[in-house]
Structure formats: C-alpha cells, structure tokens
C-alpha cells in the first residue's frame, strides 16, 4: 500500500500510441493493495494491453464486484467508465450494460471469491449466454480481505499460512468456462507479463465471452511453501501450451516460423492470433480435447497456461436475441417508447 500519488513525471522516451496517448495515460489511482500483490501486475498488464491496442479510454467499461481483485479497476483506466457492483453481481450488471450499449468494450474484473463462491451462478450464466466481454478472474486461491481462509479455488491439499491442509475439492474456473461454452478461454500468471499481455489483448479484441483465469499470488496470505498459488509453486509447475502474438489488422504478418509449429487464428475483427505451439498436438480449436488435456495435466500436478480454447466465429448474446444494432442511448423516444398500440400488437402475437 502506498500513500503517495505516483509522480506525474515519466520517462522522456515514453512512446505514444495511435491516439497520441502514452501508457501512463491509461493508469488509474495509486493502488492501495498490499505491496507485491499479483493483482497490481494484472492491472499493469491491462494498462499495457489497452495502450498497445490504441483503445480509447472512454469507450471501455470496467465492472467488478467485491474483493481485493474487484478494487483494482480503480487502479487502471482512470478515464474509463466504471461500476463497482454488489458482491458476485458483476456479471449481471455487465450483461445489462452490454444489452443497453453494445458499442462499449466490456471488461469484467473479479476474483475467486467473487466468481467461484458468492457469484458462481452469475459467472456461469454470463458465460453461458455468450455476453461479449472480457472476464478476468484474479485468482489467488485465498480470501485475502478476511485474512487468509481457503477460497473455492484453493487446491485440495494446499496448505494455509498456518500449515493446515485444505480438504475440499477446488473449482477449476477454466474447466467450467469451457464446459459452459465460453468462446475464448485462457489461463495465465500475474508473474509472467510476456504471456499475460498478448492474452489480454486477444481477449479484448475477441467477439464473444472471453474468460481469463489469472493466477495471482497473495503475498500476504498465500505465498508460502505448501501453497499451490505461490510465486515459486506456479513458476515450478507452469506448463504453457502455446505462446501468443496478437497481430492487428494494420500489421503485416511475417512468416518467421517452421510449418506446423504455428497456428494462425483470424478473429472476427480481422486480428490474427499467432499461436506458437509449445505442447505437442495441442489444438486450441477443439473444446473437448482441451477439456481432456486440462484434466490430464492437472492430475499430473501441472498448471496449464496459454490460450486453451478459441472459437473465432462465435456469436454473442445480441446475435442470439436479435437485438437492435444501435445502442439504446442513441435511439429516439419513438423507438424506445413505441406506445400502447405496439404493446398490444406484441401481446396479441403471444396469445
């Protein structure tokens, strides 16, 4: 935790993006999380990703629930729209906002408590409905704000700071998201920005529900020997299936790879995911085999990271519901309040 505001002075060579902003322009208020919190690294990753994508800050909406992770939207994108909802209710607020204004880029930020415990149902339904969003879970496997109880994502057998082993089975949010039909699923680690930032960029450009589980060590309560979410443990057991470069439409694709080692996935918006294979035979377009692979490696004690599944042609909630292409705030009164006759016609059609 720091009391001082970050000095305004910045590196004289700081680059600017297509909008003329530098990276510091995407920052928010100074973080009040514990020193060394993995969440701060994820915030820094989001800042970098939005800067590199040239996203206009005023076109982004960041939403969160309650918890350490849900505090973080205050610490990035200080000029974007924000909504700090009730505990576990971020997905419904996000879904509602998305339905009302489909033009914004939606970034949901949540934690393992907010998404795997009190908001588990909300999480499941927003994924199931294919809301066009980037849903980031900052997963530290512990209830940090209440001083270190096991959370629903703590692995069975993982030890608390006092040395007590967890006896409950963990919820694996990645597996759940795959099963519920998320069209972009990835896992990463707060301590590896080289992997995290391209994944965040790919998710932000993805049309459909993109889910990222980011393992983020809690330095205060879950970074000790015996924990399976500590810096050391994650570094020792991290098995990346691929490494990603996101190539935007404006960039040229350079063929600097051996055939068969790289998979190019063109997304809806024209951006290309250039996935360099690290695990042999891993196919991120096959949902079933991805689920199987995850289970196998997990049983072997590994933490699988990388882009685990992507469906570039996925539709989203608006497509499914056949909603108007215009955000509601741009529709006139006549369209928004069509009158009693229109209501009567709808009612009649349902009789």
């Amino acid at each position: 935790m720091t009391f001082l505001a970050k000095p305004k002075l910045h590196h004289p060579g700081l680059p600017t993006n297509a909008l003329g902003f530098n990276r510091r322009d995407y920052e928010g208020a100074i973080s009040t999380l514990c020193a060394g919190c993995g969440h701060d690294s994820i915030s820094a990753g989001i800042i970098q990703a939005c800067f590199e994508l040239d996203l206009p800050p005023h076109r982004i909406a960041k939403l969160s629930g309650i918890g350490c992770s849900s505090k973080t939207p205050a610490y990035f994108l200080g000029s974007s729209h924000g909504f700090n909802s009730v505990h576990g209710r971020m997905p419904s607020v996000l879904t509602g906002a998305n339905l009302a204004n489909r033009d914004l880029i939606y970034l949901g930020v949540s934690g393992d408590g907010d998404s795997a415990s009190i908001g588990f149902g909300q999480f499941a339904h927003s994924i199931r409905r294919s809301v066009n969003m980037t849903y980031v879970v900052e997963n530290n496997g512990v209830y940090g704000l209440t001083k270190g109880q096991f959370s629903a994502t703590s692995d069975k057998g993982s030890k608390s700071k006092k040395g007590v082993a967890n006896t409950d089975q963990a919820i694996d949010l990645v597996s759940v998201a795959l099963q519920l039909g998320a069209s972009f699923v990835a896992r990463s680690f707060s301590g590896d920005k080289h992997q995290l930032i391209p994944i965040l960029k790919a998710a932000l450009t993805h049309q459909g529900s993109a889910f990222i589980d980011v393992i983020s060590p809690c330095v205060a309560f879950n970074n000790h020997p015996g924990s399976t979410k500590s810096f050391d443990y994650v570094r020792a057991h991290n098995e990346a299936v691929n490494s990603l470069d996101l190539i935007l439409e404006r960039d040229e694709i350079v063929a600097d790879y051996q055939p068969g080692t790289v998979e190019l996935v063109t997304q809806h918006d024209g951006s290309v995911l250039k996935l360099r294979k690290l695990a042999e035979h891993y196919d991120p377009s096959d949902r079933l085999s991805a689920m199987t692979y995850l289970q196998q490696r997990q049983a072997a004690g590994e933490i699988v990271t990388g882009v685990l599944y992507v469906d570039p042609e996925a539709g989203d909630l608006h497509e499914h519901l056949d909603t108007t292409a215009t955000p509601l705030n741009q529709l006139g009164d006549a369209a928004l309040v069509p009158g009693a006759a229109a209501l009567a016609a709808i009612n009649a059609s349902l009789r």
Binding site: K8, H10, P12, C34, D40
Partner: protein, 595 residues
C-alpha cells in the same frame, strides 16, 4: 554484465549527478533538504566546509552541477542549485561560533600563499586550523582576488565578499596585502616550508589589429577595466560601447557598461551564439538588459579620427564543415560591416603570466611557458612549491579554484609532515537506510511537479542606474522552499538485496519512469536495448544484480530514477531499500591517510 559493485564509492557517487559534477563534490541534495527544512545554518555550514564561499558562489558559480542535474533529464530545467545556495547564505544566522579556530599552539610550519584569491584562501582555511602559520601575499589592498576585482558589484555585493573572506582571514592568517611578489626566488629564500601559488590568470589578451595603437585611449582590456571599476578608479564610459568576446567576462563588461553611461552597448562575437563560452544564463541576463549579441563577425580594424576611436570594422564569416569534419569559420565575401562606437572593451580571453618566477630556480616549464604541475597533487617540479586555481591549468572559475585549493592543502600538509603526497586520502562515505515506517522515510519522497522558479530581479530602471545595486533579489524563503522541493534527492539510493527478491514485479509496475527490468542477462549494449525503457544515456550506469531464482537479473537504469522510493514502498520483502549515500571529501589534516 557482471553484477554491480555498490561497495565501490564511485558507483553511488555518480548517481548523485550534481555532487559528481561539482569540482569540490559538495553534498548538494543534503544541503537542499536542510534549506527545505529551514535549517539555513546547517545548510550553509555543509557548503562552507566543502566550497568555502557559499554566499559568493550562490551568486556567481559557473554551476557545473546544474547541467548535470537529473531533473533536467525528466523535464526542461534543472533545480536552481546555485541560487538555493544563496538562500542558505542569505537566511543563516550568526555562524561565527561554528567556524574553526586557529590553535594557540602552532605546529611550527610556515606556508606562504601567493595571491589572496579563492585558491589561496582555500589553502589557508584548510591549513590554519591545523596549526600552520599561513602568510598570504597580494598586490591588492583587500583579499578576494578576482572575486573582488573582476566580478561586478551588481552581481556580488562587497559585503558578501568581506564576510566570507573575513571568515578565513579571521583564522589568524598573516595577511600581507599590498605586497606584490616580484620574485619567487626571493620568497623561497625566506625559508617557508611550502609555497602555494594562487596568483590566477591575470593577463587579459590584447587584439593587435590596425588602429589599436592610434585609438588606444578608448580601447580597454576587459578584466583590467572591470578591476578599475571595482576599485572605483573608473566610473564612466562612452555612450556607444562595443564589447568584443563571447565569454562571461564579456557579459560582465557589457552589463557594467550599461551602468556607467553606456546606452548603446553591443557584444560582437566571432563565433555563433551557441558556441559562445559564456554561460547560457549570463547571455540571457545581458540580453534582458537590452544588450544585443551579434555573431559571426571578426574584427578587422579599429577606425579612428584625430587619435580618437570612431568604430570597428568587421568581416562577416560563416561556419563551414571541412573534409575532416572540423568546423571552421570562413569569410562570406559580403562587404565588411562597420559599427560606430566611443569605447571598445576587449574580453577575448585571459592567460597566465609568470615573469616573476625565475627560470634558474629549477622549476620546469612547458613549451607554452606554463609551470609543469601534477594534476592530482598540484605539486610543481620544485617539491615545496604547489599551484592551484587559474595559475595551475589556466582560466577556469571559482569552484575549480576551491577544489584545487583543497587538494593542494592536502598535499602541503602531507609534504610538511614528510609523507608521500601521492597517497591521497579516501573520501568519507556512509550508506544508511532511511526507512522510518512502512510508508515513511526520513526524506520527503513526494516528487514536486513544479517547474523551475525564476529568481526575482530588481526593476530594470533601478538596476541600470547604479553599478553597485544587486540585480538579483534572490529567492525568499517561500520560493526557496518550493524550489528546494524540486530536488529529487538523488543521494537517497535505491539499494537492491537480491536474496530477498521474490520477482513479483511490484517495483517494475509502480516505477513512474520505467527504470526497472527483470530480464535475462546479456552484454551491456544489447541489454540496454531491451529494457522496459531503452537505456540510451550511455553515461548513466546500469545497476545489475546477481542472478535471481528464475535465472534472470534485475537491471535498473539509473538515468531518470526519481528516487521517489515507490519501488521500496511496493516491495513486499524489503529487497529494495532507500539508503542515503553521503560522501564528504577528506580535507587536509585527516588522520585517515590511506586509500
């Protein structure tokens, strides 16, 4: 790269750019913090110990510290270090009781100082408290040397000179003022244990072009003329004045002329504006007083009529880069230009002159007629004779003279005690944590966003009327505080303890200037290219840790670090700490004599 050895005192000393650049290595951030704290006496004493003339230097220093200041690399202008020094001098109380005194029992050694300028007075100040009997000779009636004779009063009031020269003469020196030394041989025969030559560079260069002799009555050598003004032998000049030369003396000449009746005063220089030797701020001050500076004009002849100067003719030149890449000035071929004037001041350089040193006494001179002097010990080839200030290596400025004086005093002390003058004492160095609490440091780490404050000036109409009225009013306490807050505290170092690091990236994420990177090690030039922000200032070091757990290294580019301490505040394990580096040069008489 090999891990950085922070135990070597030069490493952190270089990070304190201002202190490293200062010839006397004054602990700048330390006294600036004391000024911010209102502890003017303490700030003054740190300066007094290190640079001997804080009030004088706070008005006149050539400020090598300011171009070096880190603040100038993160925004346009550096901290006004020089004028903050003046704040300490202006606001201090009576510090007489804090000054050293000469011991009642002398050590029996006698040292003669030739010249009573800054170099000699520094030698005298360092040696007198050790029990030396110091005799200072000067041809002028008052001590101070060029400080008194050449710096105009509107930049440096006489009271300030009297006060600070007085602190030194008060140490029981034997002041032989009004006695010019005409023979070193005769002086050596008086049996001094050591002699220090601090006689300056007293001869102004002349310009032998047609008309020089005929118009001599209105052509003056700049430094002699300034000296005549200072001693009130001259109190007026013609209405139209041309100053030839582009150094600081030229700036003093033109500004003094404006105060002695010169209404149409111009400075005319051979070189371009950028290449002029004068400090940027001195040029600015001259232009502020309505003095134009004309460039690329080479004087060809003084025109005269009936034995009276009428003007100067100039040839126009332009810079051309020759085949070898050297820049030369070649005539443009345009018609010569003539400027009318009543007086000309020559400020085209000054040089040393030693007609009073007999060649037969055995001192070696080089082919330019300069004595051979050792650059570290300031000893001449005659073992008991030492040189310093402008007399040693040609014209520089006050702060260099002070630095020379300290080093020469160390040598003289060693020499008089029969020790090897080449064994120089190491500086005193301390490095101490400044942590007071979880987010609390013993220094104010909140970086000020203010731009450099301007020193308030006296109204131009009033200032130009009297050569003795000081132009600069100096910062008052409030402005001094605000300017002091701009200092980045570069002496509070970021010290990294690799075993404690868990590589969580917290420091990388919080650093406002992207100084820190965790990456694979490599060769320096390659490593510099792939840091969070490329490290392009090659003169600034990279701080490289030994290999960490993930086999990467921590690399910190010292270049634009704000020393805000946020890396240390964000570090969960205390791997980063803010530690104050204090380096004090060891002066003559220290008991620690080994390096």
């Amino acid at each position: 790269m090999e891990p950085t050895d922070i135990g070597q005192s030069d490493y952190f000393h270089k990070v304190v750019d201002c202190q490293w650049a200062c010839p006397a290595h004054t602990p700048v951030p330390e006294y600036i913090r004391l000024i911010a704290d209102g502890r003017y006496d303490d700030a003054y004493m740190i300066n007094w110990k290190s640079n001997v003339f804080p009030g004088i230097l706070g008005r006149t220093c050539d400020r090598p510290c300011e171009p070096a200041c880190r603040r100038g690399r993160v925004e346009d202008e550096p901290v006004a270090i020089c004028r903050l020094k003046r704040v300490a001098a202006d606001n201090k109380g009576d510090i007489a009781h804090r000054l050293p005194t000469a011991p009642a029992a002398k050590n029996g050694k006698r040292v003669a100082c030739i010249g009573a300028g800054p170099a000699s007075l520094t030698v005298a100040r360092d040696l007198a408290p050790l029990g030396y009997h110091v005799t200072v000779y000067d041809g002028d009636a008052k001590g101070g040397g060029m400080i008194r004779s050449q710096i105009p009063r509107f930049r440096l009031p006489e009271e300030v000179i009297d006060e600070e020269v007085g602190y030194i003469t008060g140490l029981g020196l034997e002041m032989r003022l009004g006695e010019r030394i005409d023979s070193l041989k005769a002086l050596l025969e008086e049996g001094y244990d050591a002699v220090f030559v601090g006689s300056g560079a007293p001869r102004g260069r002349d310009l032998e072009i047609p008309g020089r002799q005929e118009a001599a009555a209105n052509i003056h050598i700049g430094i002699d003329w300034l000296s005549n003004v200072s001693f009130e032998h001259v109190d007026r000049i013609g209405r139209r004045v041309i100053v030839l030369g582009g150094g600081n003396t030229a700036m003093d000449c033109c500004r003094t002329s404006r105060r002695l009746g010169g209404e149409d005063v111009k400075v005319i220089v051979r070189s371009g504006f950028e290449e002029m030797k004068a400090s940027a701020w001195e040029k600015e001050d001259a232009m502020h007083e309505g003095i134009p500076i004309l460039n690329f004009l080479v004087p060809k002849a003084f025109t005269h009529e009936g034995g009276r100067l009428t003007g100067v003719t100039f040839e126009e030149v332009a810079p051309v880069i020759d085949d070898r890449g050297r820049r030369t000035l070649v005539p443009t071929g345009n018609p010569d230009q003539h400027f009318e004037c009543d007086d000309v001041l020559l400020a085209i350089g000054q040089e040393n002159s030693f007609p009073w040193i007999e060649r037969e006494i055995g001192m070696e001179f080089d082919r330019w007629g300069m004595p051979v002097v050792d650059a570290a010990t300031f000893q001449s080839t005659l073992p008991g004779v030492f040189f310093g200030g402008d007399a040693a290596f040609g014209p520089k400025n006050i702060i260099w003279a002070v630095a020379h004086g300290h080093d020469a005093a160390v040598s003289i002390d060693l020499y008089c005690r029969g020790e090897d003058v080449r064994q120089r004492p190491a500086p005193g160095v301390t490095l101490a944590s400044q942590k007071m609490g979880i987010h609390e440091w013993s220094y104010d780490n909140d970086v000020s966003n203010d731009l450099r404050f301007k020193v308030p000036l006296r109204d131009r109409e009033v200032a130009l009327k009297n050569v003795k009225v000081e132009v600069e009013l100096g910062f008052d306490r409030e402005l001094g505080f605000a300017e002091a807050q701009r200092c980045l505290n570069c002496d509070v170092q970021t010290v990294f303890a690799p075993p404690a690091c868990i590589e969580c990236d917290a420091c990388v994420d919080i650093c406002p200037v992207d100084c820190i990177t965790f990456t694979d090690n490599g060769e320096e030039s390659e490593l510099r290219s792939r840091l969070t922000a490329p490290a392009k200032t090659l003169s600034q070091a990279l701080y490289v840790s030994p290999e960490l757990k993930t086999r990467r290294v921590m690399v910190k580019d010292e270049d634009v670090c704000l020393h805000c301490g946020l890396c240390a505040e964000r570090c969960p394990t205390g791997a980063w700490d803010m530690q104050k580096f204090r380096l004090d040069m060891t002066l003559a008489g220290s008991s620690c004599q080994s390096r």
